[in-house]
Amino acid sequence: MVEEIGKTVEGDLVINVGPQHPATHGVLHLVITLNGETIKKVEPHLGYIHRSIEKMCESLSYRQFIYSTSRMDYLSAHINNHACALCVEKGLQIEIPERAQVIRVLMDELTRIASHELWWGAMAMDLGAFTPFFHAFRERETINDIMEETCGARLTMNYMVPGGVMADLHPNFQSRVKNFLKLYKSKIHEYDELVTGNIIFQNRMKGVGYLSQEDVISYGVTGPAGRGSGVSCDVRKLYPYEIYNKLEFDEVLETAGDSFARYMVRLREMQQSIRIVEQLIDNIPDGDYQAKTKAVLKLPKGEFYQRVETARGELGVYIVSEGGTTPYRIKFRSPGFSNLSALDHMTRGGKIGDLVASMGTLDLVIPDIDR
């Protein structure tokens, strides 16, 4: 491996960060070339958790393949399922009941908050502060409990089915979400006290892992990482799906392009998600939670592409159908994959500590990259 990098010179220190490393949150393998403490090159080696989901989906029916996408980006499993369900519905051209739409969006936003909570804790842990991780989990667990009650699982819900959602909301759902909102609002100032305002943290983040607007576009970086550089790339605003065009929320943009900007985007995005949840929680319309669909789904011949905004960025589902009951080819454009490609550019010239900070704010989920 080392000889193949080619660009290393005598005296450079080549280090394998991962596949087992505390900062890579999974089995990401980075080969970093160092000059002392300064990073010269970062090269990702992927595939340690490649489960060939795309190939597997080719032999699963349109109802079945959705569950496997929960295992891609397991932190926003709901949103992944949502993307698949939407793509199938696009092919089938079925209308989804309004209640189902509202439930889906509610769940998406709760998932987004939960994902950002975990990111917040994990990123602080990367920087050496262990306490925020546990504090973040307090709020996250509340969301997980809500999910568990309605969907039946905490992480890989498989709640979205083509045509709506699998089951109706649990009777306790509204009151529990309201409790969560109350809890979250009473704790929101702690995020700033513990991490955001901390001088050590700010010094670690500011000016680190800079991405310009051109870089963001060229590397295909999306999600909070892209918006941290001032590139408007929120799919919910640009190409609204479901009922997002009827909701009031802002696309969070920061212009600095460094790790701190990406951090702030995520923190403020949580507030926007809270705003969406607040708008919807008292206005869940009555009606069916699932549209009538056939037992065996057959997509017409053609190509269907659906993108949604996950907690990490733009997730695209590209289905090529031959008219059968299984997809002919399926491709997941995962946000983590493109975001990872910018890592080398971001971290060159920085210190090892900067690599950790950059990786933390890109919020990489490795199964999402490897699929």
Partner: protein, 358 residues
Amino acid sequence: MFSLESITTLVQDWLNKTFSPNLALFFEFVIVGVLAIALFAGLGLVLVIMERKVAAWIQIRLGPNRVGPKGMFQSLADTVKLIMKEGLTPDGADKFLFNLAPFIVMMVAMLVLAPIGFAKGFHIWDINIGVLYVSAISSVSVIGILMAGWASNNKYSLLGAMRSGAQMVSYELSVGLSVLSIIVLTGSLGINDIVLSQQNGWWIFKGHIPAIISFVIFIIAVTAETNRAPFDLAEAESELTAGFHTEYSGMKFALFFLAEYINIFIVCAIGATLFLGGWMPFHIGNWEAFNHIMDYIPSFLWFFGKTFFLIFLIMWVRWTFPRLRVDQLLNLEWKYLLPISMFNLILMTLVAIKGWHF
């Protein structure tokens, strides 16, 4: 009044009466050695459980609570586990240095114990250059860490060791300067003299603002010197997995672990001695009655109370803050701590000359 001084003199008299002077000295060595090792083991157990409980409560967890009453025997169970574990030596490692390094770190920690006054008249060695001795010996521990990092034949370890070297060399200065500012007031390097000079109040109260500044600098610098978060760059978990002790396992790892806690204890003991009066009870100027009541609390309780307060402070800091980056660590020392402590030393000298302190 209960005092440890009487016990030590009793033992010494008895030994000198029964044996020849040489043999008596030898037995004293043995007794001191056994006591020191016992203290180490006891401190290790107590500090580990304390750290875990502090961390847990700060992190809204319960912490260890299964082994023994309220989990108090958890560290004992951990020790048993560590002893049972196989002590691996990596293939490409320099075997001799690799196995030597934990002992060096441990021995340094033991040596520093010598001049510390645990209670009234309860010293191992009341040397007249006590503070100088401590600062000289404690900087040797970096050799152990460098040795461990180099001998492990692991790049993470090497980076950790190099970081640790740079860190220790820099922060030694601030520790030295902040200690000096108290030496300026006392005029003596002997630990006992320093404690006795705080008869009518501790230096942190008597020494005006310069003493408080040097206390803060001392705490920051010793946190860095003992490789504790937020300055734990030598073992920076998320960057270098475990830094210089990545390759160590079993009891050899435990020695590093123990040495870290012993070092914390020692620097906190020094801090308590210099700024908070060591074993000297809390005295206020000439309030004879008040001072007398305070004297009823045994002196070793005062010493351990103050030391553990400082240890708690350092733990509190550790579980609150993120880690610094390596260049910021050096910036903090050379751009902030060093200039401030130098200026502070001048200020302190002025205070001492003019006699502005109480």
